[in-house]
Structures are given as structure tokens and as C-alpha cells.
Symmetry: none
Subunit: 262 residues, 2 copies
């Protein structure tokens, strides 16, 4: 392992719970020599990646990270971060896939991709996704800010016979999303279209959007469903990483339970 990697690894020892670390403790955490760790910290400090608190001699993350983080945000649009993940998702599932982003109380379409595998396929031609009728929407209400439930109930438009029309019906679907870590819509927005959706999180730690697969009902076998679920998890992990977020442990656990039961 290169020494540069070892130096950079030290940065991942910091967390919200442990924002300051002393030299000795860092040696223990990194399981490395004191002299080596010290030199690595010197390098990181010179680059502004860590700084030493004058009073306690402890180290904490440095100001250069703020600068670089802002630049990443300014130069790499979210769309770019979702592109490859979405491509492989479409490839692996053979279905139409899309990514939505939450802005305020609205779920917007960010991008979509149709798999050329089947001649009959779902077509995404909406720009905003109703919170009460789509898999993405269930995800948003399940993992997003609390206000979204009320926002979803503000407009119970009936898209199909299966569109939930009451708070209770919606809450059941949202509860399922919470326990499985995924939104599931069985013909609730369009007849004969089933969708599965996994949440995406960004650097604020909040729900930021969802990645979804839409399949025609006749193809939606348990086998395909399992493939989609597995690929959705991969895609969500990848996009979340690119957006600077972390999958909350509750979601990770929900996924683990949902996947192990098959």
C-alpha cells in the first residue's frame, strides 16, 4: 500500500462522533506506528486537510476540504453522478429506469433511461412524480422530511383504480417502504406498470431522491423482482456515494432483511 493511501486513510477516522483525534489515539485507530502517523498528519496538515487545535494538540479536519468540496459541488452536477449507475441498472434489469430528485416538496425527474431489451416498456414522460402514487414517492415520504406526508395527501389524484386515495392507504405503502428500504408501486400510477424504487441520500445526510425501475406487469415475475431489488441497492449505493452521502443504517438494515428472506 502506498504511503499516500495510508495518509489519506487517516481522514476516514474522523466522524461526527469523533471530530478531534490526538496523535496516540490515531495510532491506535489506524494500527500504525507513531512516527509514521505523525509524519502523515504533518503532510495532511500542510495541505490543509487536517489542522491541529492549538490548545489540545488534537487534530481535526481542515479548511481545504471545505474548499474542495464546494468545488466538486460546483463542477460536477448530480446528473453526471447518476449516469453510469443508471446505465448499468438499465443494462442489468432490461427495464426502464429513472432517477428523481426532491426539491422542496416536489419530486422531479432528473433523468431516465429506457432499456432497448423489450419492445413493450414503460415510458417516462412526466417531469414531476406524485408522492402518493409512485414508488419514488413512497420512498420520499418514507425517508424524506415529515412534511412530505401532508404534501402527498394534499392532492389525492386517482391515476388508476389502485391509486391510494386515503391517508391510511398511503401510510400502509409507506410503512412497507420503510421496512423493506424500497418503494413498490403495483399499477398505482399507470395500469399494468409496476415500479420499484430505492432512496438516495446526499452530503447533508438527508433523503435527496430515488432511483427506480419500471416494468410492465406481465414481465414482473418474482425472479425479475429479485434482480431489480439487488441492482437497485447497488445503484442507490453508487449514486449516494457520488452525491457525497451515506446510506443510513436503518435503510441498510432494511435492505439486509429484505434480501436475506429470499
Amino acid at each position: 500500500m502506498s504511503s499516500a493511501s495510508k495518509a489519506l486513510e487517516l481522514l476516514s477516522l474522523f466522524s461526527e462522533a469523533k471530530p478531534e483525534i490526538g496523535l496516540s489515539e490515531m495510532c491506535r485507530l489506524a494500527k500504525r506506528d507513531k512516527a509514521t502517523t505523525y509524519r502523515h498528519l504533518q503532510v495532511l496538515e500542510k495541505a490543509g486537510f487536517v489542522e491541529q487545535v492549538v490548545t489540545s494538540k488534537n487534530y481535526r479536519l481542515g479548511p481545504a476540504l471545505l474548499q474542495l468540496g464546494r468545488m466538486r459541488e460546483a463542477t460536477v452536477p448530480r446528473k453526471a453522478g447518476a449516469e453510469t449507475a443508471l446505465a448499468t441498472l438499465a443494462e442489468k434489469t432490461g427495464e426502464t429506469v429513472h432517477v428523481t430528485v426532491l426539491s422542496g416538496l416536489t419530486l422531479f425527474a432528473l433523468m431516465s433511461r429506457e432499456s432497448p431489451k423489450h419492445s413493450t416498456r414503460a415510458v417516462i414522460d412526466v417531469t414531476t412524480f406524485p408522492l402518493h402514487a409512485t414508488a419514488s414517492g413512497f420512498c420520499a415520504v418514507a425517508f424524506g422530511p415529515d412534511e412530505l406526508l401532508a404534501a402527498a395527501c394534499d392532492n389525492f389524484e386517482a391515476f388508476t383504480d389502485l391509486t391510494p386515495m386515503t391517508v391510511e392507504a398511503l401510510e400502509t405503502l409507506v410503512a412497507t417502504a420503510r421496512t423493506t428500504g424500497m418503494g413498490l408501486s403495483i399499477g398505482r400510477f399507470e395500469e399494468e406498470i409496476n415500479s420499484l424504487s430505492a432512496p438516495i441520500f446526499d452530503q447533508t445526510g438527508q433523503f435527496a431522491g430515488a432511483v427506480s425501475v419500471a416494468s410492465v406487469a406481465s414481465r414482473f415475475t418474482p425472479e425479475l423482482e429479485n434482480i431489480i431489488k439487488a441492482e437497485l441497492i447497488t445503484a442507490s449505493r453508487e449514486i449516494t456515494k457520488s452525491w457525497g452521502g451515506v446510506i443510513p443504517t436503518v435503510v441498510e438494515n432494511a435492505w439486509a432483511n429484505a434480501m436475506s428472506s429470499h
Copy 2:
């Protein structure tokens, strides 16, 4: 120089103007061997500090920076505390404004804001500010730890004809900063750009950074200078307060003298 430093240096080659850099170009910019540069990029990529655009093979800043940047701000919430003050400063002066933070012996850019009032304006695209050539730097040497003078003298790079090139020249500018409570740079870092800068202090009572206004020389009338000075004092007070610090009485007195003489 350690190899880790060399790897980290590559990150500072990215800018808003140049968000994507290919391998060969990066070698040229960093003046380093291709093999070495390649390996450094591999290390940075593995750590998520850069990522490679699949299509163009170019490299750009990676998602790990978002997480680390957020964590730094969560730990040391400087940016949030400076935001409103900086906005009103830009508004009131109509010029480009920025805040720098001192970390170790280096002055880092924390954030900047361009006023849309004028079409010609200063643009902040540096990540670290030279101590010997900028208004912020004069403030740092004047009000920061004593080691900064030596650090400033370590690298007398000449940015313009007016950049101070001797300890004596620098000390004169620093002395002025001490008596007025503000750093002043008249074309010392960029031709035709004048800057004024006021120090910021944090909860340890130490110099923590500076808030600055950069104006194009042709607009820099005595009237504007007075407006800038007054607004800088307000901004410095506000940010210092937000960072948990107090303006030292020597600085308060210097400000009082400087302002009353007009």
C-alpha cells in the same frame, strides 16, 4: 518532499475554470512524470478524492470531498457563520468579497462572493493566499502568530511589480495594518486590483482569518475606500462574534483612530 504531498498537490490543480484534467495535461501542470502522476491519481481515485470520467478518461474532483467538507463544516461551522455577513458586505460595497481562514501557516480561501453590480470585477480563484502579497496576508502577519512573518518571507514570489520582495518592505505594510486595523494591498497580488482586509478572531482569542474586499483600481476612490472600511469593520465584528471570538482592544482602537480621522 513526501510522495503523499505530491499526490495531494494534484488536487489543487483543479479549479472552477478547469474542472476536468487529463493525465498528460496534469503531468504538464504538475511538472511531473507521467507514471508517477498516474499512480498518484490512482491513489486519489481509490480514496474518492478524484474520479475518472468514463467517456473522456479525464479526472475530476471526487465525491469523498463532499462528505469530508460537510464533516468539517459540521465540526467547525465557520462557513455558515460568515455567510450573511459576507452577503451584506458584497451588497453594500458592490465589490467582490471573500473570507480566508488561517490553518497552521497557510491562509486558505473559505468562501467568496462576487457582486453583480459591475461587469469588471475581481475574481477569486486561488485556494491559498500568499502572506506577503495580499491584504488578508498582511492582516495575518499583523495579528496572527509571530511565526507567520518568517513563513511569509520563505517565499517572496513576485506577482506584480508592486509585490513586496524584502522583509523591510513587508514589515512596513504589516505595520500599517497594525495601526489601521486593516490590511491594504494596492496591486501587490494582481495588477489593477486593490484589496482591503479586516482580521477575524475566534474563541481562543487568536487571529482566525480575514474578511476582504477586492476592487478594481479605477473604481477605488477615497469615498469607496471609506465605505469599504466601514463595512469591513461591521463584517469582521459579525463574523468574529459568530465564531465565538472577541475583537481585541488594540484592533478596536486602531479602527476607531482610522475612522475618526476622516
